[in-house]
């Protein structure tokens, strides 16, 4: 995992001091609301519906145990004892006291963390595959490249006031687990015939009000040019992106308006000036960063131990369910990645208590080399667990309520904080999530449904990624009342697609029943081992629509 050098630490410490001064001047009335706003949002501090909210950056979702422990301390000492992991793999604290935020940032700086650029019209936290560096299907480890992007984009003076926020996602695996097609910029790392890393650059994807799938701007960028190319691309956006209407200010609108050919032409024209310039990456500079992401010293796990775990899987049904759903393959035989489910009936998806944060940190130290990942599905991952310790870990997770064997099922739904917290929301999302989780609790039924992604957003900003849910639910406002629009057929991954709206929206009470009807259509129409998405793609929207509105 990346460790700050003295430059990083100095930058973060100075930012804390600077923000403390800005806060003091604001509280003393020497900075206006309008002047303070862009300063606080660049430090992750929002004003929410009932209270301020602090969004803490977790760069590309990687977290050390000691950092999670500190996050638990912050939730306990400065907030109401819990935090919320977001679809951008950050952590939100929903009840901090405004004036204590500089102290919180100072605490974060002590564990190499910050809240810089977690908001504002700047380059946000880069996200990646939660199994980066350990995935079986990985071609290129994205972590060093994410870190290089982090260093390039953090405090980039030219890009602090873009037309709108800017999100980059990176993957280097055969299966895209980072949703790169629906990001402002998506990067797919791959290797050419000589084994050199190349980058496919996508731009103009995004969810929100106008969902779009990104288009390929460059297919085969040599790795040396990654930063100069990104610089040219963001510069074109900074100059030409719309600033007259914030709903049309994302890069997707620019790419669409210009057409990808013209957008590419402008980027390449700008890049011609930057190519081979001072920001060109050298092998040495990449290796310096990559040295932070070397494999841990994994002890060998014997074949007998692996066989014993497989045997237990057959004997113990509950453990078998956990293995099937929450334990994932690993590039090293004898090791596994384990997803800790933050989706439990009666709890908001992605929420973790301070106490759980401390306990999970201990588990990371005990079972997984002190490292964790945050997933954009709002779960946590221990990425390096020896298989002969899976049973012990499972028992510990069971005791903490984090072993819910439903990862990848309907119950593993994604949900934004919604109208319970967020000032932007049109409708509440958490109660809808909870009602669905309660209605579909039966594990056998969930397993029978197979892989099913249900995503809920409380407004069209789409923090809950409803456009790419197999089933998407969007909270809408109709004459002051909360209604829910349902869409079908969205997907993330290699074959990403945007959901189609089923029809008129529903009341909150009606939503679980509608989901039930949709699932019944699937169950009656599916053939063989078709997933929900397969069936939808084969039969289309009509049969679902007819049954729901019958």
């Amino acid at each position: 995992m990346y460790r700050y050098d003295s430059h990083d630490q100095t930058l973060v410490n100075e930012r804390v001091a600077q923000f403390r001064d800005q806060m003091e001047r604001y509280l003393a009335g020497r900075l206006s609301e309008e002047e303070f706003l862009p300063l606080r949002v660049q430090n992750g501090l929002y004003i929410q519906r009932y209270a301020p909210m602090l969004r803490i950056a977790i760069p590309y979702g990687m977290l050390a145990a000691y950092q999670l422990r500190k996050l638990g301390d912050l939730a306990r000492d400065y907030d109401r004892g819990y935090g919320h992991f977001t679809t951008r793999t950050n952590l939100q604290l929903n009840w901090p006291k405004f004036e204590t935020v500089p102290d919180m940032l100072a605490e974060l700086a002590s564990v190499q963390m910050h809240a810089i650029q977690t908001s504002g019209n700047d380059i946000r936290n880069t996200t990646t595959d939660q199994f980066a560096g350990v995935a079986e299907d990985e071609e290129v480890d994205p972590r060093p490249w994410c870190e290089l992007i982090r260093q390039w984009s953090t405090f980039h003076p030219e890009f602090a006031y873009l037309p709108r926020k800017f999100k980059i996602a990176v993957t280097g695996a055969a299966e895209d687990r980072a949703a790169i097609q629906v990001h402002d910029v998506g990067l797919r790392l791959w290797r050419d015939a000589q084994g050199e890393v190349r980058v496919r650059v996508l731009a103009g994807g995004g969810l929100g009000r106008t969902p779009m799938i990104g288009e390929v701007v460059r297919d085969d960028l040599p790795w040396q040019h990654l930063l100069t190319y990104l610089e040219a691309l963001v510069r074109v956006y900074n100059q030409f992106g719309r600033r007259d209407n914030k709903f049309k200010a994302r890069i997707k609108i620019l790419v669409k308006a210009l057409g990808v050919e013209e957008f590419r032409r402008r980027v390449e024209e700008e890049w011609a000036h930057l190519k081979d310039g001072p920001q060109t990456l050298t092998r040495e500079s990449v290796e310096r960063v990559a040295a932070h992401f070397v494999d841990p010293e994994r002890r060998p796990v014997t074949d007998e131990a692996i066989a014993a775990i497989e045997a237990l899987r057959g004997e113990n049904r509950a453990f078998g369910r956990f293995m099937t759903n929450n334990v994932h393959g690993h590039k090293v035989p004898g090791y596994a990645s384990v997803t800790l489910s933050l989706k439990r009936s009666g709890h908001s998806p992605g929420d973790v208590t301070a106490e759980q944060m401390h306990q999970i940190a201990d588990l990371a130290d005990e079972y997984s080399f002190g490292e964790l990942r945050v997933t954009h599905e709002q779960n946590l991952v221990l990425s390096d667990v020896p298989m002969d310790r899976l049973e012990a870990l499972w028992h510990e997770l069971e005791a903490l309520g984090l072993a819910n064997p439903t990862v990848g099922t309907l119950a593993d739904l994604i949900c934004c904080p919604g109208g319970d917290y967020c000032a932007l929301a049109n409708a509440k999302s958490i109660p809808v999530a909870q009602a669905i989780q309660e209605r579909f609790e039966d594990l056998d039924f969930l397993y029978d449904l197979g892989p099913l992604e249900l995503n809920i957003s409380g407004c069209m900003n789409a923090c809950g990624h409803h456009h790419v849910g197999h089933i998407g639910i969007l909270g809408v406002d109709k004459k002051g009342e909360e209604w829910y629009q349902i869409s079908l057929g969205g997907a993330q991954g290699n074959a990403a697609s945007l959901g189609k709206i089923l029809g008129p929206s529903f009341s909150r009470e009606a939503v679980p029943g509608v989901i039930d009807t949709l699932l019944k259509v699937y169950v009656s129409e599916r053939s063989d081992d078709e997933t929900f998405l397969d069936t939808y793609r084969r039969i289309g929207l009509k049969p679902f629509k007819e049954r729901v509105y019958a």
Partner: protein
Amino acid sequence: MPDQAPHSASQRPYLFRGQSAVDDWQLIREGQPAAGVPAIVPSTNGSEGERGQGRAPWLAADTELDDALAARLVAAPLVAIDFPKFTDGRGYSLARIAARASRLSGRDSRHRRCAGRPALLHASLWLRRLLAARGPVAGGTPCAT
């Protein structure tokens, strides 16, 4: 941060290479008479005004540089860029492009940003770490940011 002591609009203190300095360039908006020197005048005023002693052009945020304009920038004692709004960051990219086009890189350059008035051109914006280590971009500006 510099003191917030009262100062006239045309004599704002700022930090230059870590030292307090005074900017006595007067900003002339479109349609205003160009009184006195030194003055920063609209680049759209044509080259006559710019060429005078103690005159320098300012560029609007949406300026698209062409060769003719770039050639005029080369001769200017300084180039200013207008930031119509605090949160409108186009000027930073324009600064990079203008610096390159007018080959200003390497000359003394200063950088400031204030809502409603031009910033002096910084020709080495990309030196992010250097800048940020001194105090991030907004640090050291005379306005309240």
